[in-house]
């Protein structure tokens, strides 16, 4: 597997730990992507795919883990086709997956506005927005499918915003020049998720989907090199069971919670994809994380998670900090001349509307200079005084009323009178399990969809594209490609007593036992916070070799301390949230190490990944295409032992890489 690992293959002088001493493996090639004109590829792939006779579909069982936009849509669609689906979610109901919290909207190349939008333009914007680190074939397919998603969701009864003529309304979003974002007030994710959930519920009630809520996947079962099932724990009874199938689909979302503080749900976690990674699925671009610029800053050490506010606020709000460091006056007491509207100053062309990564980094820079505001100096002002003066308070309220209300509820400050304070926060992870064009991982029979995979967004995701990708994968892409896999690989049932099944079950129960029996003195949360702070400091908005090397030295020590000092009260036979948490933190402690290594090895700046060593003379991010125009897919070799890097070279036939510039 791990090919040649001679010293010549090592990058940089990063000898801090053995872990950084990774080997370079065989390049990865996406064998499923058809060639030919990009606009024909998806059509061709679907036609070339083998099909399963409708009468035989009932004989195939597919496991789907997760019930968010991708998982919910996939479970419902596969069941509609006639497959037997066994589905899992850790929440008490499939309706609660964190897709529900997405606010802004969903992109689709409908061109209802007659403003020059097209599938090709959405494709172009997404490849460029991803800073040329995604695959053209995948992105084009995403743009094609986007139009079908809107049709599907409208037919399901998703209450999108409409105009008085009864037709769908759209708005523009983050740095795009057309109005292609469909929305349902500030709750688009909720409405789309409920649509998928309702479709799924119909299949559950009809008996086609066997739903296991409050059940968490803890390992993947691989038999004869193919994914054939999972080990899952019933969170209420504590029972650990194996579930077997012909294919396994992971729709378990991103891993932003590695940072402890993020806009992810408290229980979102990386365990499913990390367990799959340990079982042979390569992990791609783990360092590509998205930091959202407009979140409510933390109020103190008690903070358990961060809350995002729609970036539409930047349309009318002006971002500033005091010119002088350590200026502790109230914002109203700082005269105009002593304010620094730093985005408008640095990026006159785009001003407050620069892309997410740039706005986030600029905020970090001014805070690092000691000019941040609010508790701990970790915040910048987002000021609506000018907008209120220009448009009137009523107009501002009509546009942003619900966001202002949310801000006031959380901070007890009135944003109509004093400027809001905002700070960037971890929001989305572009990295994830490596998948081919069919969304299949490097473990045959194991598929990853939605945020759980790495594809489509490259190094930076555009606003309103996450919902689009999750639903594209779930409703349209996976149901087509999974057919092909099942048709080509008729499976004999796996006996319950198969050694691989036994081994996976044993691994899980041993680990749970270890967590429960350890007589330590620290809580899972205390480790999680410590890990999160370390990652935020060293592998957050700006990264450098020294910091990443330091993190790579610290993480194994923290992991060792975790297993020595962890204390989990209660038993494994009942609902035990400390146990769930501890198990997730244990996986985060391994994933964090890979993230830092990936960030260290990618010595360029691209999208959300900013390496301080790689910047232009003007201090902007500098991509280095000659060296890094590839997907970094990491192969697991053991906890704490150096992984193997497989590169998938990216080629651009239609959208030619250029350096982004917003000044």
């Amino acid at each position: 597997m791990a090919a040649d690992s001679g010293p010549s293959q090592k990058t940089e002088a990063t000898q801090a730990t053995d872990y950084a001493d990774y080997a370079l493996g065989e390049p990865l090639v996406d064998t499923k992507a058809p060639d030919g004109p990009v606009a024909e590829r998806w059509k061709r792939r679907r036609f070339e795919a083998k099909l399963v006779n409708p009468a035989n579909r009932r004989k195939h069982t597919v496991i789907v883990v997760g019930t968010g936009l991708a998982g919910g849509a996939a479970g419902a669609s596969l069941a509609e086709q006639g497959y037997r689906v066994i589905q899992f979610c850790y929440q008490d109901s499939p309706r609660r997956a964190h897709s529900i919290a997405a606010q802004g909207g969903i992109n689709a190349a409908k061109n209802y506005r007659n403003d020059g939008d097209s599938v090709h333009r959405l494709f172009y914007d997404t490849v460029k927005g991803g800073d040329f680190r995604s695959r053209e074939s995948n992105v084009h397919r995403l743009a094609e499918v986007s139009v079908e998603i809107i049709d599907q969701c409208v037919a399901q009864g998703v209450p999108f915003a409409r105009e008085y003529g009864g037709l769908l309304d759209t708005r523009s979003f983050g740095g795009v020049q057309v109005s292609r974002t469909f929305y349902a007030r500030g709750q688009t994710g909720q409405q789309l998720l409920l649509g998928a959930y309702q479709a799924l519920s119909r299949q559950i009630a009809g008996g086609s989907v066997e739903m296991h809520p409050r059940t968490e996947m803890l390992d993947l079962i691989v038999v004869d090199g193919r994914a054939r099932g999972i080990v899952a724990r019933d969170l209420v009874t504590g029972r650990v069971d194996t579930h077997l199938a012909d294919a396994v689909v992971l729709a378990t979302g991103g891993y932003g919670n590695v940072f402890y503080l993020s806009t992810n749900a408290k229980n979102s976690n990386a365990s499913a994809i990390w367990r799959a990674h340990r079982r042979g699925a390569h992990f791609a671009n783990p360092c590509f994380t998205q930091i959202h610029p407009t979140c409510i800053p933390r109020a103190g050490d008690h903070q358990s998670k961060l809350t995002l506010m729609s970036e539409s606020l930047r349309n009318d709000g002006r971002i500033w900090v005091p010119k002088a460091a350590g200026d502790e006056r109230a914002p109203s007491a700082i005269p105009e001349g002593e304010r620094d509207y730093y985005l408008e100053r640095q990026y006159p062309a785009f001003g407050n509307l620069v892309p997410r990564d740039i706005a986030s980094r600029a905020a970090k820079n001014v805070c690092d200079e000691g000019r941040g505001v609010g508790p701990g100096g970790q915040g910048v002002y987002l000021d609506f005084a000018d907008a209120i003066a220009r448009l009137g308070r009523d107009a501002v309220e009509a546009k942003y009323g619900n966001l202002f209300e949310m801000y006031e509820r959380i901070t007890a400050e009135n944003p109509y009178e004093a400027p809001m304070r905002i700070y960037p926060a971890i929001h989305y992870t572009m990295g994830g399990l490596w998948v081919d064009y069919d969304l299949q991982t490097t473990v045959p029979g194991l598929f990853a969809i939605g945020e759980a995979n790495f594809s489509d967004h490259g190094a930076n995701r555009l606003g309103a594209s996450a919902l689009m990708q999750g639903l594209a994968d779930g409703y349209f892409v996976l149901p087509a490609t999974l057919n092909d896999y099942l048709a080509r690989h008729p499976h004999e049932p796996v006996p319950d007593r198969h050694p691989a099944v036994h081994e996976a079950l044993g691994t899980v129960t041993d680990r749970l036992y270890q967590l429960l029996s350890n007589q330590g003195d620290r809580t899972p949360d205390s480790f999680h916070r410590e890990l999160g702070e370390l990652l935020w400091d060293e592998c957050g908005m700006a990264r450098n070799e020294a910091g990443l090397t330091k993190a790579l030295a610290r993480i194994p020590a923290l992991r060792e301390e975790f297993w020595r000092r962890i204390r989990v009260p209660g038993s494994g036979e009942t609902l035990n949230q400390s146990l769930e948490n501890a198990n997730r933190v244990a996986d985060h402690l391994e994933l964090a190490e890979l993230m830092c290594l990936d960030a260290l090895h990618r010595a360029e700046s691209c999208g959300g990944h900013f390496r301080e060593e790689s910047r232009t003379d003007g201090g902007e991010a500098e991509r280095r295409d000659e060296e890094f125009s590839y997907v970094a897919a990491w192969e697991f070799t053991g906890t704490g032992t150096p992984p193997v890097l497989h590169r998938e070279q990216l080629t651009f036939e239609y959208v030619h890489p250029t350096q982004r510039s917003y000044t």
Partner: protein, 247 residues
């Protein structure tokens, strides 16, 4: 601030439970109610005691996972979810009672965690539009009058938290059920299954053991998303219409 908590502790579905008293100190007014419970739980876990189990996830007031009765009110004194309730609404030295949702159809799983799967079965009985993936017509084929779209949205906002059931003296799920019936029945896309939907969903709601509606209005008062009481009237209207139409 320092607070006296009395929290319902119950080891499992069949175990007996009781209110247990805890004192917490150093609570910041900026904490959410759940962060206050986190503080208690870290303390308990530090002492090797089992933390208080409670459902929570997004902590942004949208997933509907959290839910507890705080001083006799579902989600506490503010009209929002427990995760968006901040401690500044309490005073130093307060005694706060925290109990799980109480309803026969929501059996307690542990401590403050209850089983709300009855809601999923109500949705499964008809809270959908039967439109298999790929079979949808072009989105603009059927314009939807803005008023209908707005009514649909207002009702679609329901987060399924169960506060309506918890607040209702009869443990009734009428507000929850009506929100989905009204959402889908107001739209042309939901029209073909209009009668079938309301009959099945009301049937399932009754079968789950929820109580009937006595129009006390407690549900709408407790609803963090402001689903209005007239939605129940609208569902009644749909139901009686379906009965009259003989379907």
């Amino acid at each position: 601030m320092n607070l006296h908590l009395r929290v319902w502790r119950q080891q499992g579905p069949d175990a007996d439970g009781a209110m247990a008293a805890y004192d917490v100190s150093g609570i910041s007014p900026d904490m959410s109610f759940l962060e206050m419970l986190d503080t208690l739980n870290e303390e308990l876990a530090g002492r090797g005691e089992e933390p208080v189990a409670f459902d929570h996830d997004c902590r942004e007031g949208i997933c509907g996972a959290c839910g507890m009765v705080i001083n006799g009110q579902a989600h506490g004194p503010e009209r929002t979810t427990a995760c968006q309730l901040h401690m500044r609404h309490f005073a130093d030295g307060d005694t706060i009672d925290v109990e799980p949702w109480r309803a026969a159809a929501f059996p307690v799983v542990k401590d403050l965690v209850v089983d709300r799967s009855a809601f999923d079965r109500i949705i499964g009985s008809g809270g959908y539009v039967s439109v298999p993936t790929g079979s949808a017509p072009e989105a603009h084929a059927t314009p939807v009058p803005k008023a209908a779209a707005d009514t649909a949205f207002e009702n679609a906002e329901c987060i399924g938290c169960g506060a309506c059931v918890a607040a209702c003296p009869n443990g009734s799920a009428m507000l929850f059920t009506s929100a989905k019936v009204v959402h889908l029945n107001s739209l042309p896309q939901g029209a073909p299954e209009r009668e079938e939907r309301v009959l099945s969903m009301v049937g399932q709601m009754d079968a789950e053991g929820f109580g009937g509606c006595t129009n006390t209005g407690e549900c709408a008062t407790a609803c963090p998303k402001g689903i209005p009481l007239p939605s129940i009237a609208a569902m009644n209207r749909e139901y009686l219409r379906a009965v009259r139409k003989g379907r």
